[in-house]
């Protein structure tokens, strides 16, 4: 909730996630960002003050702002991801506030799946610890484009530059080895307010942006010309009215890249081809549309296209496959086992599938692979091989977060079992695995 007059000018939106262990000061950082950007309103603050008083606390507990559920306040812990909203004059923000507790992996995966940026908190006194490596690994796995290392509690290490520099160097080396494309390290004290919203008066040696300044200026969208254009068909619009007797449009949200009128397209998995006759962008006819716009495509030919199909440029269409190799994060309490029958939801298509193999389970602490675990339990991350009943037009997650991701669902009760990312796990290993895939393909005589 944000409301100051100056915020009216903000035009772009950035989605970001925070990750931190229990005592790293994440609630304080979130509270500080909201408070110092004047996003906490009087009645919210009054509610927190009165609830804090009722608990016998002398000062307002800012964690009560973010812990919204009865059980969370009773136990003083954060159970689930919460989404918060604030704005500055330059930008609006959606913050996925992910708890650092027991269920950390699935919670952080949930928050990171839609984030353009992740803030990883480190306690300056402890430096890079196992939990930090875990957070960096999840950010790398989910291919979050920007990572901020916030070295917190600088006030407790006398604002010493060498402390910060050593942590930043260690973290950057580790995250870079996982393929995190951009890392920004910022020394802060969330409690004292140093370099969160206002520049610190205690760290002359630091010339970089504050956390908020960085959030305001980091690019929120990517170079679309480098992306493969992808359009999952959500719904077929056929008014069949006197005014629109022949209108037939394919509604969906562009998952990646851009589409142009006149472009030659292929519909997958059928492989039928046609040309884009028109693009209706929510009431406006346009020549070009790009991700993540929701539009309606009209084609020159009356071919069979329905929900679940994928439209791609004919020159750059993915090869449909029934064999999916992926990394999954298991998010359910019930396990995922070899041989299990599941549903796989990919873009707008849900198909039957079977788990053929779980070749390895990843230990995030040291990135070691444990072969053939047989099953994955809650918060496990592992490689899986899945065979689907119908072909899927799947991309590598590295190429498209939207068309490379999928869910595994329990057909019996609808539970979301796992979050899947097709292709290689980490960008840094891409070279090796690509080689392996190529060899594999050479084995087939196409």
């Amino acid at each position: 909730m944000t409301t100051t007059a100056e915020h009216l000018s903000a035009t772009t939106l950035l989605r970001f996630a925070t990750a931190g262990s229990v005592d790293d000061g994440k609630s304080t950082l979130v509270g500080r960002l909201l408070h110092d950007s004047k996003s906490i309103l009087t009645d919210q603050l009054e509610a927190v003050e009165s609830a804090s008083r009722n608990r016998g606390q002398e000062t307002p507990d800012l964690a009560l702002l973010t812990d919204g559920l009865r059980a969370e306040r009773e136990q003083g812990i954060t159970i689930d991801v919460a989404y918060r909203y604030f704005a500055t004059a330059r930008r609006r923000f959606i913050l996925a506030d992910t708890p650092g507790h027991v269920q950390y992996t699935r919670n952080m995966v949930t928050g990171a799946s839609t984030a353009e940026l992740a803030v990883v908190l480190v306690d300056a006194r402890n430096g890079v610890v196992e939990q930090t490596r875990r957070h960096a690994a999840v950010a790398a796995l989910l291919r979050v484009p920007h990572v901020v290392l916030a070295v917190n509690k600088m006030d407790l290490v006398e604002y010493a530059e060498p402390v910060f520099a050593a942590i930043a160097e260690e973290f950057t080396a580790y995250a870079a080895s996982l393929g995190v494309p951009e890392i920004t390290a910022i020394p802060i004290s969330a409690l004292a307010g140093d370099n969160v919203v206002e520049p610190s008066a205690h760290m002359d040696w630091y010339g970089g942006p504050t956390v908020l300044e960085h959030l305001e200026t980091v690019p929120a969208s990517h170079d679309l010309t480098a992306c493969h254009a992808r359009f999952p068909v959500q719904y077929v619009i056929r008014p069949q009215t006197a005014e629109h007797p022949d209108y037939r449009g394919y509604a969906g949200q562009i998952a990646a890249g851009a589409f142009r009128v006149g472009e030659q397209i292929t519909v997958l998995p059928s492989g039928r081809t046609s040309t884009i006759a028109g693009i209706d962008a929510l009431g406006q006819s346009v020549d070009i549309a790009w991700a993540p716009q929701s539009v309606t495509l009209r084609l020159t030919d009356d071919i069979d296209v329905s929900r679940g199909d994928l439209i791609a440029p004919s020159s750059d269409a993915p090869a449909p496959t029934q064999d999916v190799e992926a990394t999954v994060c298991h998010v359910a309490d019930q396990p995922l086992s070899v041989g299990q029958r599941v549903l796989l939801k990919h873009t707008t298509r849900t198909v039957k599938a079977i788990v053929k193999d779980i070749p390895s389970r990843l230990t995030l602490d040291d990135l070691s692979q444990h072969p053939n675990p047989g099953k994955l339990v809650a918060n496990d991350i592992g490689r899986v091989v899945v065979r689907t009943a119908e072909p899927l037009a799947l991309d590598a997650y590295a190429d498209s977060r939207r068309t490379g991701s999928f869910l595994l669902i329990d057909p019996a009760d609808g539970t979301t079992l796992s979050a899947g990312m097709a292709g290689d796990a980490f960008a840094a290993t891409a070279g090796q695995v690509h080689e392996a895939v190529q060899q594999d393909e050479e084995g087939w005589d196409f």
């Binding site: 772009t12 949200q253 707008t348």
Partner: protein, 311 residues
């Protein structure tokens, strides 16, 4: 690779969407997902600004075809006449089908009892959930926003409800990417919140951008009101004022539109959309903090009502 000391300039590419376009696109995607996956969806329509924006988005999502959903209004019997008139006009204009769940019916039949404080908002839950069961709705769109309230900040876009319409915040499905899982057993349904990521200000700026008409009570007008629990309530047959409360005529408007018995008016001279937006942007009170009595009943009032099936 690592940046320590630079703030990049002018970083938004020509392909960056404005925040309103980005929220609009996401909401339209959600409407189309529901249309593609469910048998009998319905839009909760109160005639308030959030449900009006929802309907506007649904109209855009399926144009030039008709909206493939019907509307459901929970009528507390204490609604503002201007809002009911708006509701009926809208239904007629777009050729929609309207279902009404009536709290007054339940009171007349003796199923629900009027509360001593006259607040009917909590009484909506039973008529709503029984209507959902009776009509076998499997997806129910609500205009709830996560910025409204701390329990709502935890709400999923697709929120599974059991056969009693209950919400269990500790057993929610993780929501990953834009892959919404709407699978449910017979008797269960999914509450869907396409405006989850919108703030009050986003809603108003979108209303202005799209030129959406609203019920007139959102704009400043003279009204007979009386003060109860620190709020200006509209005087009327629904049960106010009591003898100890005195009526006065004030220049007010409504920031939210709910039941007359629990929705307060705010002092305002904002008669245009521009003026309303400026006023909200300067306000130091949240929307619900300023105008909703039902949220103040306890620290977890919203969570408790949501658990029982409230929207």
């Amino acid at each position: 690779m690592t940046t320590f000391a630079t703030v990049s300039e002018g970083t938004d590419s020509p392909f960056a969407l404005s925040h309103l376009d980005s929220l609009e696109s996401e909401a339209v995607h959600i409407f189309r997902e529901v249309a593609g996956e469910f048998e009998r969806p319905v839009i909760l329509f109160s005639g308030g600004k959030d449900s009006i924006v929802m309907l506007h988005l649904a109209l855009k999502a399926f144009a030039p075809a008709a909206v493939p959903f019907s509307l459901l209004h929970v009528d507390t019997g204490h609604n503002f006449p201007e809002v009911l008139a708006y509701r009926d006009r809208t239904v007629a204009e777009h050729g929609l089908r309207l279902h009404v769940a009536s709290v007054q019916d339940y009171i007349d039949r003796g199923v629900l009892r009027e509360r001593p404080d006259g607040v009917r908002n909590p009484l909506q839950t039973l008529p709503l959930t029984e209507k959902i069961q009776a009509e076998r709705f499997d997806a129910v769109f609500g205009g709830g926003r996560r910025d409204e309230e701390k329990a709502r900040a935890k709400e999923r876009v697709f929120s599974l409800r059991d056969e009693f319409s209950a919400w269990d915040p500790r057993r929610q499905r993780p929501e990953l990417w834009q892959l919404y899982n709407g699978r449910h057993a017979p008797g269960e349904h999914v509450r869907v919140f396409p405006l989850s990521n919108w703030t009050e200000l986003d809603v108003w700026q979108y209303i202005e951008r799209e030129g959406i008409e609203l019920p007139e009570i959102y704009f400043a007008h003279e009204r007979e009101v009386f003060k109860r629990s620190g709020m200006w309530l509209t005087a009327g047959e629904w049960g106010g004022p009591k003898e100890s409360e005195s009526v006065e005529t004030r220049l007010v408007r409504y920031r939210t539109v709910g039941d007359m018995s629990c929705t307060g008016a705010v002092d305002s001279d904002a008669t245009t959309l521009d003026a309303v937006i400026t006023e909200i942007a300067a306000s130091r009170l949240t929307e619900r903090g300023a105008t909703r009595a039902d949220d103040k009943m306890s620290e977890a009032a919203m969570e408790d009502r949501k658990r029982e099936g409230y929207f």
